[in-house]
Symmetry: C2
Amino acid sequence: MVLTMYPKSFKRLIDHFASLPSVGPKMAERLVLYLFKQDSEKLQEFAKSLSNLKTDLRYCQRCFNISEETLCGICRDSARNQKIICVVEDPIDIIAIEKTKRYTGAYHVLGGLLSPGEKNQTQIRFNELLDRIENISEVIIATNPTTEGDATALYIQRLLRETTIKVTRLARGLSTGADLEHADEITLGSAILNRK
Amino acid sequence: MVLTMYPKSFKRLIDHFASLPSVGPKMAERLVLYLFKQDSEKLQEFAKSLSNLKTDLRYCQRCFNISEETLCGICRDSARNQKIICVVEDPIDIIAIEKTKRYTGAYHVLGGLLSPGEKNQTQIRFNELLDRIENISEVIIATNPTTEGDATALYIQRLLRETTIKVTRLARGLSTGADLEHADEITLGSAILNRK
């Protein structure tokens, strides 16, 4: 009802934008109007880039990072320690960790987290992780510090219990620059327990 | 620096999204990752819709609304009162006014507002408005109630001063459902002056 007044092709593009996460119908309208004001060339490049996204890129066969080739740059890099696997939820998390420049091992992208009550484990790449653990010395679980992240971490710890692989999790504690006074109890508690 | 780790085609699409208004680089990353997870068909439709935006659509030759034909649906509609023109900034404003179902005249899209200090008047479709005013009985100025909207309204009022055309502006007052206590002074002042 809301958008019936727009020409069909305009409305269609609004709907596409509105289907994206954190883009509401109002914002979608503004985005499409903005695009309509841009020159055709820019628009064509945007469209081409979108159209080629899945043909140019695939998931790395080993770690499921986004890659232009069968194996991603990180998995192909022999200078990296391929015996350590850092397990993350999404390829975005890899970028976040890479930016720290403190990690030189490999990765494994789960593609999701366990959520209590939901039976969607099959999509999460646990088996693909188990297929890789031969010759691995350490698995670092870098899931988000949330209920889902914790549940997933626990599950992986259990999966690897029978192996000799060292399983670790990212430390929890105060954020750099944060105020002690405003830290939540659980974070502050972790910071005390993990003091060094 | 931030996004150097992504494959080129991924990064390119992130940049396209990040160039949109109110989309930051972090949000752009998430949008592209989300799209990457969608099926190819949906992606192709989105791309096609984007690619066709400017070929399927144009500005209405008369009112500069977005249109699939030379004249938009509103300008072609003989049931509407084509002697009244409602002047708005953007095609989005037309939709907002149409939704009220309280207006049955024609429109004129300025495509911008006067801003103090900026010399960008030439893009704003004032001349195109003047070209239309023969046989027009009323011009309703529906620019935003902001400094720019007010400046533009004043300018149009001055342009039309020598004509016999009735020039009106949208009423200002309290928003329906708003709290008297929280209304700003200017709005409340307008509401008092325009009481009826």
